[in-house]
């Protein structure tokens, strides 16, 4: 019985193959974009995890200097001699050609088992070879490829190594990093002997740091990934609209079948079961296809993601994907859940429908009028919720929740807004065809509203994110001009060279400004501290957001501190608050400056104070003021005199170009997802129009019979689709603006710590509108062509039961 029931139900799909295809396509696309984002995020997170796990920071307590400076090796020995089971790690960066390599030096002998993620003895390595110069760098295969031809110690491959990271013996690392007798931190074995003397007695300057559940890296990049996730959700929501409308239509059209089956004795329970099984099979098949497709999309996007993560955060993510069971599981689960959620109301209706309910098609316009109002009320409620979250919420998740509520609310409001717009159109139009056009368009709304809501989401996201990116770009370019006023930037390789280069430049340029900095840990986060000279360059150009009038005088006197915007926002710092620096020095905050593109907190003090408080500060870099026309000549001379590598001497234009390139790549992924989302929305419209085209015949035939040609009707159909897209775009503009505002004023502040002014780019909207109209026309083209090709006989069949 069930088998025959299933056959009857499935026969529907045989007769409506396009509907079937659309259902699968919608579901597969929704799952694909979602899975793509998941796969990318998964890859990146796994990479951070590996980076953190490679020496067990994620599992072991560590001892570090409170100020982030390195620990003397003798202190390590002292601790061991006192019975503490600690193991030294030296970490640092080294450049090989253009490649930046993170070097991790470990002592394989004392390394706690919990920290040994990477097999030191792999690749036939002997401990003797590992610890004896020139030693061995253990790197991943990809990193090894990038280092090919560079003068590195011999490489050994272990793909458990995170990209861009090399593990080597502590002794080898000390010579590579020019840090003899120094270690960065000490790993504490989980089981320490009892009765050892307390740390405070033996090493009072060291602090214990709990295992980093999330590394600094994953915290910094969190916002980036949350961004992607939000887009994944958006794309999934848009795809789900297709599924919902396809399922809705299929259930509606199968009501007679359902009634007949029940009349013939199939129990309701069995019927529902059959339909659920059918949906499960469909969604699993589509889900599988979707996840596979998602991996395809992800592998296309990943290089850009990896590039922007590297550029923005220095986070190394491999450019290739690995297959993650979690992505498959989650993808399939969300496909099934989405399908069942889309079908739930339909199933409920069938479950509660009296056996002999009339099987006539839905009373479209009347039912919808009421439904529209109800839906709009829901939309307004969501908008109110969004407002409340913006007003009272805090945090990135709240920001995205507000965004979600706002977008969904706007989408729910859309049908009513369109209905009102179309009513207005009808009232304003004179001609009978025009009036019919508007009236008929309005009648199509219920059937198309889901697809149009999807379009609204896609358009609003495009407009909003576009506005955000463009605003950011405009601000960023202006800021670069302020931030990089010097004509030349020089990095030296040692303190001795630094001094020589400084003296050499001093006589050949207008000014040599030190760009010296130290790393510290303040307010529970890593903070960079820069020292600047007292020079007009800073007084005139520095992108100050707010400052006391005498800020630069105080900096010059060593009597004040500047903080970047993100640090000030995160720590709620206001002008005048005391900042506690090294050696107990407390200075007031005298200014806050914008510092886009840098996720870290930063402070600026006078350069004299920097070297006084942080004797270990890096003193290698300089900004040079010189007449622009003399730059090439000076660069060449620098190169000749000091044999500085090309990447150590960079002119202003190159720095700017580099910064802009990072910027562009950062948003390349966003743009790609935007376009994909718009594509999904276009497919949603196409699917809806296609499934509606059969139903349309009965509505168009009377107009045709009373004297309109098929060609004209077909043109009107295309026009209708274009008009709906156009109106949806109109509705999307305010939503997009609201979205942009929320991104700039709420999400960015939470995610990156800076707030940007909003700029409006109406030409972009026009372009977007044209794109939307074009995709709507494209979507309507095929059904319209079909309509034009209809034989009169098919149309008159509508009117007669016989010939």
């Amino acid at each position: 019985m069930l088998v025959h029931g299933l056959t009857a139900l499935l026969s529907h799909w045989r007769r409506h193959p396009l509907q079937f295809a659309m259902l699968l396509l919608g579901l597969a696309l929704a799952t694909a974009l979602w899975s793509a984002v998941q796969a990318i995020n998964g890859e990146a997170r796994a990479s951070y995890q590996r980076a953190a796990a490679v020496v067990g920071q994620d599992r072991l307590d560590q001892l570090v200097h409170a100020d982030g400076s390195r620990i003397a090796q003798t202190e390590y020995i002292t601790l061991r001699k006192a019975g503490w089971l600690v193991s030294p790690v030296l970490e640092g960066e080294k450049r090989y050609g253009g490649e930046r390599l993170r070097i991790l030096g470990v002592d394989p002998v004392t390394l706690p088992a919990e920290a040994a993620e990477v097999n030191v003895g792999a690749a036939g390595l002997g401990l003797a070879r590992f610890i004896t110069p020139p030693g061995v760098l253990i790197v991943s295969a990809a990193t090894a490829q990038r280092l090919q031809g560079e003068e590195t110690p011999p490489l050994a491959i272990d793909d458990a190594m995170p990209p861009g990271t090399a593990m080597t013996d502590i002794g080898i690392s000390q010579s590579l990093l020019e840090a003899p007798g120094e270690v960065s931190r000490l790993l504490l074995a989980p089981r320490q002997p009892p009765d050892v003397r307390p740390l405070a007695e033996i090493a009072p300057d060291l602090v214990k740091r709990a295992p980093a559940v999330e590394s600094d890296l994953s915290r910094l990049t969190d916002s980036f990934h949350l961004n992607l996730t939000a887009f994944g959700f958006l794309a999934f929501a848009v795809g789900l609209f297709i599924v919902h409308s396809a399922i809705g239509l299929a259930f509606e059209q199968r009501r007679p079948t359902v009634r007949t089956l029940r009349a013939l004795g199939l129990p309701l329970r069995g019927l529902i079961l059959l339909m659920v099984v059918e949906l499960l099979v469909l969604s699993l098949a589509a889900g599988l296809a979707g996840v596979a497709l998602g991996y395809g999309v992800a592998s296309l996007l990943l290089p850009d993601v990896a590039a922007s993560l590297r550029g923005l955060y220095g986070a190394e993510v491999p450019g290739t994907l690995s297959i993650r069971p979690s992505v498959w599981g989650l993808g399939l689960a969300i496909a099934v859940a989405g399908t069942l959620a889309s079908a739930a109301s339909r199933l409920w209706r069938i479950a509660t429908m009296p056996l002999l309910a009339p099987a006539r098609p839905r009373a479209w316009s009347l039912a919808s009028e009421r439904g529209l109002r109800l839906q709009a009320a829901g939309g307004l409620t969501l908008l109110a919720v969004a407002l409340l979250i913006v007003r009272f919420g805090a945090g990135l998740v709240a920001g995205f929740a507000a965004l979600g509520a706002m977008l969904l609310g706007a989408a729910l409001l859309l049908p009513l807004v369109l209905s009102l717009l179309l009513k207005l159109g009808q009232r304003l139009s004179k001609g009978v065809v025009a009036q019919w056009f508007w009236a008929d368009t309005r009648q199509q709304l219920p059937g198309l509203s889901l697809a149009l809501m999807a379009l609204l989401l896609a358009l609003a996201a495009n407009a909003g994110v576009g506005t955000m990116v463009q605003s950011f770009r405009l601000t960023f370019i202006g800021w670069l001009d302020q931030r990089l006023p010097s004509e030349l930037y020089v990095s030296t390789r040692s303190n001795a060279e630094s001094q020589k280069v400084h003296d050499w430049l001093a006589t050949r340029s207008d000014a040599v400004l030190p760009v010296w900095n130290a790393e510290s840990r303040m307010f529970g986060e890593p903070v960079q501290i820069y020292g600047v000279a007292d020079h007009a360059t800073y007084r005139q150009h520095w992108p100050m957001l707010e400052a006391t009038p005498d800020a630069w005088d105080r900096i010059a006197r060593g009597d004040g501190v500047l903080a970047n915007e993100q640090l000030a926002r995160r720590q709620h710092l206001q002008l005048g608050v005391p900042i506690i620096l090294e050696q107990g020095r407390v200075l007031p905050l005298v200014g806050i400056y914008s510092d886009y593109g840098n996720p870290r907190g930063q402070l600026i003090v006078g350069v004299g104070l920097l070297t006084q408080l942080y004797p270990d500060a890096s003193r290698l870099r300089y900004a040079v003021r010189v007449a622009p026309e003399r730059v090439p000549q000076l660069m060449a001379a620098l190169h000749d005199t000091f044999d500085l590598p090309a990447e150590n001497v960079i002119d202003q234009a190159s720095v700017k170009a580099f910064s802009l390139r990072i910027f562009e790549r950062t948003f390349a992924v966003t743009a790609a997802l935007n376009v994909l989302t718009l594509g999904v929305a276009a497919i949603a419209i196409f699917a809806s129009l296609l499934t509606l085209s059969d139903m349309r015949l009965a509505q168009l035939a009377p107009a045709w019979a009373t004297g309109l040609t098929l060609r004209r009707l077909a043109l009107l159909e295309i026009l209708r689709s274009a008009a709906l897209a156009c109106f949806t775009m109109l509705a999307a503009v305010p939503v997009g603006l609201a979205l942009a505002w929320m991104l700039l004023a709420v999400v960015n502040v939470e995610a990156f710590g800076w707030r940007l002014p909003m700029h409006v780019f109406p030409l972009d909207w026009l372009r977007l509108c044209l794109l939307a109209v074009a995709s709507a026309i494209l979507a309507a083209l095929l059904p319209a062509l079909w309509l034009m090709r209809r034989q009169p006989a098919e149309l008159v069949k509508v009117f007669a039961n016989e010939r």
């Binding site: 509505q699 019979a705 010939r803």
Partner: protein, 218 residues
């Protein structure tokens, strides 16, 4: 002659081959005349009506309306012909669902540029639709819908009304009332009527009757 059909033939491709629906039918209808077209199911009555109304094209023969051959007209000209010269009343799916009663009534007349407000108003009153103008087709009963269809067909004062089982979906009493109304209004406007029906009782109320059997007039 208002309408002349001369040796008209029509066939349709079907699953089992070509179905010859009309096999050389000739028919004449004078202005103001009313003609009932009867026949068994499948005899080709509706097809004949569709050909006469320019909804479909004949395979052979000639159809002339007011002396003008419409057999060779293109889609556009046929649409114009329908718009200006013919009023259609069908058994079902007759009205435009997205328009209210008032708009449906006026639709064809305005489409053909022959809208006459006074006449439409009178027509509305005669059809008893005055209270229903703001309603939509699906809010109407079958009899009400059919009255709107008749009103729309007559609003443009066409010379010819084509009706296909106009009372087929209605109960007998309502059907009779609708037909009464239609005949009375036809008398007022002087339009000719070609009505397909399988009911001898209804056919008897028209001026003349022809019977179609196996694609030929009997």
């Amino acid at each position: 002659m208002l309408l002349e059909l001369h040796d008209v033939s029509k066939s349709y491709p079907t699953g089992e081959g070509v179905l010859q629906v009309l096999r050389g039918v000739s028919l004449e209808l004078a202005a103001g005349e009313s003609l009932a077209l009867t026949g068994e199911s499948g005899s080709g009555k509706s097809t004949l009506l569709h050909l006469a109304g320019g909804l479909d094209r004949a395979d052979g023969g000639a159809i002339r309306f007011a002396g003008r051959d419409i057999t060779g007209l293109g889609d556009g000209a046929l649409a114009t012909f329908r718009r200006e010269s013919v009023g259609l009343v069908f058994q079902q799916f007759n009205l435009i669902p997205s328009l209210d009663v008032a708009s449906n009534l006026a639709f064809q007349a305005r489409l053909g540029g022959r809208f006459d407000a006074a006449w439409t108003e009178r027509l509305t009153a005669r059809l008893g639709l005055a209270q229903l103008l703001a309603r939509y087709p699906e809010q109407l009963s079958g009899g009400q819908q059919q009255r709107v269809a008749i009103g729309r067909a007559l609003a443009a004062r066409p010379k010819l009304i084509l009706a296909d089982e106009p009372t087929g979906n209605l109960d007998e009493a309502t059907g009779d009332a609708v037909l009464d109304l239609m005949l009375a209004l036809l008398a007022e406007t002087g339009a000719a009527l070609l009505m397909v029906t399988h009911s001898m009782r209804l056919a008897a109320r028209l001026g003349r009757r022809v019977n179609l059997a196996a694609g030929k007039l009997g």
